[in-house]
C-alpha cells in the first residue's frame, strides 16, 4: 500500500493520469507493471479523480459494460458489487446514487479486472465522516495479499494508518519517499520544565545547541529517547522542576506541512535524508 501525498496542484492526479495512459508525459518516462503506461491496462485498475459512469444505466449495467470492454467474465460483477457492499442497489440508476455510493462503484469498477496494481485517486474525497471511515476500511482490505495499491489522499491520518510506504510530490517532483517510520525520522523527546530560561541553559550545556529547540509547546530535544533519565537527573540536580518528559514522534501531517510549506526544508530533503524537525519559534540558548 503506497500513499501518494502532495498539496493541491502538486501533480498527483496528472501523475496518475500518465500512469494509466490517459495523458502523455511532456518529459521523463514511467514503467507500470513492467511496461510503458497504458500498455498493461488489463493488470491495472484505476479510479482517477471523480468516478465517471453512465447516468442512465444501473450500477450492474455500468459494470456489465466495463466488463465487456475488459473481457472480464460476468461473474466478477457480483463479486465486486459484494466487495463494495452495493449488491442491494445494483439495479438502481447511477444518477440516483449518493457521492459515497458513486465512489464505491468507482472502486468496484477498478476491481473488476482483479488488478495487480490498483490506482485510487482520493477515494474519500467529498465523503462525510462515516463514508470516510467506510472507504478507509474498504481500501485497507484491498491492499491485503499480493495486490499493490497506489493511494492518493488528503486524509493524512488515513495514509498514516494504512500505507506501508509514502511518497510526497511537490510541483511535479518527488521530494520525499520512504516508510512512514523513515519519514518521521528519529524520535526525540518533548520536555516541559520551569524555569524555562535556566532549563534551556542546562539543556544546551548537556546536549549542545543544535539538539535543543523551544516553542510554545515547550522544549523539543533531538536525542534518543533512551537519554530521558539522564536529562531528567541533570535538570533536577540543577534545581529545575521537570513537569513533563516523553518521547515525541512527528505525525505525517507535521512532515507533510514541513515538506510542502518550507522551500528550504524541501530542497534539503530532495538532496538527502529527511532533516530533523526544526522548532517554529526558534531555539533556546
Amino acid at each position: 500500500m503506497y500513499g501518494f501525498l502532495g498539496p493541491n496542484g502538486a501533480g498527483k492526479t496528472t501523475t496518475m493520469r500518465i500512469l494509466v495512459g490517459l495523458m502523455r508525459p511532456t518529459g521523463g518516462s514511467a514503467v507500470v507493471v513492467g511496461t510503458a503506461p497504458g500498455h498493461s491496462l488489463a493488470k491495472v485498475g484505476s479510479l482517477v479523480e471523480a468516478p465517471a459512469f453512465y447516468p442512465y444505466l444501473s450500477a450492474r449495467d455500468n459494470l456489465k459494460a466495463l466488463a465487456s470492454y475488459a473481457g472480464v467474465p460476468g461473474s466478477r460483477i457480483e463479486t465486486v458489487l459484494t466487495e463494495v457492499d452495493l449488491t442491494d442497489r445494483a439495479h438502481d440508476k447511477y444518477s440516483s446514487f449518493s457521492l459515497g455510493m458513486k465512489q464505491r462503484l468507482g472502486v468496484a469498477a477498478a476491481l473488476l479486472k482483479d488488478p495487480q496494481l490498483l490506482i485510487l485517486d482520493e477515494p474519500s474525497n467529498g465523503l462525510d465522516p462515516q463514508g470516510i471511515v467506510e472507504m478507509r476500511d474498504l481500501v485497507r482490505n484491498l491492499g491485503k495479499g499480493e495486490r499493490t495499491v497506489l493511494l492518493s489522499s488528503h486524509q493524512l491520518a488515513e495514509v498514516e494508518q494504512i500505507c506501508d510506504r509514502v511518497g510526497v510530490i511537490l510541483r511535479g517532483k518527488m521530494v520525499a519517499e520512504g516508510t512512514v517510520a523513515e519519514l518521521r525520522g528519529q524520535t526525540g523527546l518533548a520536555l516541559t520544565a520551569e524555569p524555562e530560561q535556566a532549563a534551556g541553559e542546562a539543556l544546551v550545556r548537556l546536549l549542545g545547541p543544535e539538539a535543543v529547540h523551544f516553542d510554545d509547546d515547550g522544549f523539543r530535544l533531538d536525542v534518543p529517547p533512551g537519554r530521558a533519565a539522564e536529562i531528567n537527573r541533570a535538570l533536577v540536580t540543577a534545581g529545575i522542576d521537570v513537569s513533563e518528559l516523553r518521547p515525541a514522534a512527528r505525525s505525517l501531517e507535521d512532515i507533510f506541512l514541513q515538506l510542502t510549506g518550507d522551500p528550504v526544508a524541501t530542497a534539503e530533503v530532495a538532496a538527502g535524508p529527511l532533516p530533523p524537525a526544526t522548532a517554529a519559534g526558534g531555539s533556546a540558548s
Binding site: 493520469r17 494509466v20 495512459g21 490517459l22 495523458m23 502523455r24 491496462l41 488489463a42 491495472v44 484505476s46 482517477v48 479523480e49 471523480a50 468516478p51 465517471a52 459512469f53 453512465y54 447516468p55 442512465y56 444505466l57 449495467d61 456489465k64 459494460a65 466495463l66 465487456s68 470492454y69 475488459a70 473481457g71 469498477a109 479486472k113
Partner: protein
C-alpha cells in the same frame, strides 16, 4: 473488439434519448410524408391543382403514397430529416461521453483507444442499419394502409430494389451519423456539435446550395459536398412524384455519389480516430 462492440451496443440499447430519436424519425416520416400529404391530397385547398407541375395531377400525388413508391418516399426524407436525426444520433453517442467524463473510464479498461473507437463506430453503423430498415418498414406499412383505404391493389417494388434502397438509406444515415460523431469529437461536447451540425444542414446544404444551386461555379463545389451526393443517390431510385416540385436534377451519377459518400464516412472515421487516439483525455 467484440467485447467493446457489445458494450457500445448495450449503452445505445438502454438509452432512452436514442430510442426517442428513432421513434421521432419514424413518426415524422409517417405523419409528414404520408398522413399530412394524404389528408391534403384527399381534401385539396381551392386552386391546389393549378399550382402543380405541368402534367401532374392529384391522382399522381396520391399514387406516390402507395406501395410501389414507398422506398422513394422513405429516401426522400434521408437528406433533411434523416440528416438531422443521424447527426444528433452521432453526437449523442460520442459527445455525451465528454460531459459524463466516461471516456477516461472506458479508455482505462483493457482494449486500446482505437479498438474502443472502432467498436463505437461499428455500433453506430449497426444502429443506422436498423434505422434504415425501420424507416423502410414504416413507409411500406403506411403506404399499404393508405392503399387499402383507397381500395388500391397492393403491388410492391421488386425485392432487389427494396434492398438497394435500404442500403442507400443506410449509407446516407451512416455518413450523417459519422459527421455528428466527428463534430462531437472536435468540439468535445454535445450542444455545440448538434448546433453546428444542424446549422450546416440547414444553412449550407439547405439555403446556400438550395437557393444559389443553379450557379454553375457553385455546382462544381457542391458536387463534393454530402448533400448533393445524398440527393443524387436518392434520386437514382426515381422521384416519388412525377414532375417534381421545384427539384433540381442530380449533379452527379449514382455510382459517383456512392463513392463520395463512402469516402466521407471513411474520412469522418479516420479523422475522429486520430483525434481520439492522439489527444490527452482530461
Amino acid at each position: 473488439m467484440l467485447g467493446s462492440l457489445s458494450a457500445e451496443l448495450l449503452k445505445i440499447r438502454k438509452r432512452w434519448a436514442i430510442r426517442i430519436l428513432v421513434v421521432i424519425f419514424v413518426l415524422v416520416l409517417v405523419l409528414l410524408s404520408y398522413v399530412l400529404s394524404y389528408t391534403i391530397y384527399k381534401n385539396p385547398p381551392p386552386r391546389f391543382g393549378e399550382n402543380l407541375p405541368r402534367g401532374t395531377t392529384i391522382a399522381d400525388l396520391l399514387s406516390a403514397l402507395y406501395p410501389p413508391n414507398f422506398h422513394r418516399v422513405a429516401l426522400s426524407g434521408a437528406g433533411g430529416l434523416g440528416a438531422a436525426i443521424a447527426i444528433i444520433l452521432g453526437v449523442l453517442a460520442a459527445g455525451s461521453e465528454y460531459g459524463w467524463g466516461t471516456y477516461k473510464t472506458i479508455f482505462t479498461q483493457k482494449p486500446s483507444r482505437l479498438t474502443v473507437w472502432l467498436a463505437k463506430f461499428a455500433a453506430l453503423v449497426l444502429v443506422s442499419a436498423l434505422l434504415a430498415v425501420l424507416v423502410m418498414a414504416a413507409a411500406a406499412a403506411t403506404s399499404a394502409v393508405l392503399a387499402s383505404i383507397d381500395g388500391q391493389a397492393l403491388s410492391w417494388p421488386d425485392a432487389w430494389t427494396v434492398v438497394r434502397a435500404t442500403g442507400a438509406e443506410w449509407l446516407i444515415l451512416v455518413v450523417w451519423t459519422g459527421f455528428g460523431v466527428l463534430l462531437a469529437v472536435i468540439s468535445q461536447q454535445s450542444a455545440l456539435a448538434i448546433g453546428i451540425g444542424l446549422v450546416y444542414v440547414l444553412v449550407v446544404e439547405g439555403i446556400i446550395f438550395g437557393i444559389f444551386g443553379s450557379n454553375p461555379t457553385l455546382q462544381n463545389f457542391e458536387k463534393f459536398f454530402p448533400g448533393a451526393n445524398v440527393t443524387a443517390l436518392a434520386d437514382a431510385f426515381g422521384p416519388p412524384i412525377r414532375g417534381r416540385f421545384g427539384g433540381r436534377p442530380a449533379l452527379v451519377e449514382p455510382t459517383q455519389a456512392v463513392i463520395v459518400l463512402v469516402a466521407f464516412a471513411a474520412a469522418f472515421l479516420v479523422i475522429s480516430s486520430i483525434l481520439i487516439v492522439r489527444r490527452d483525455q482530461v
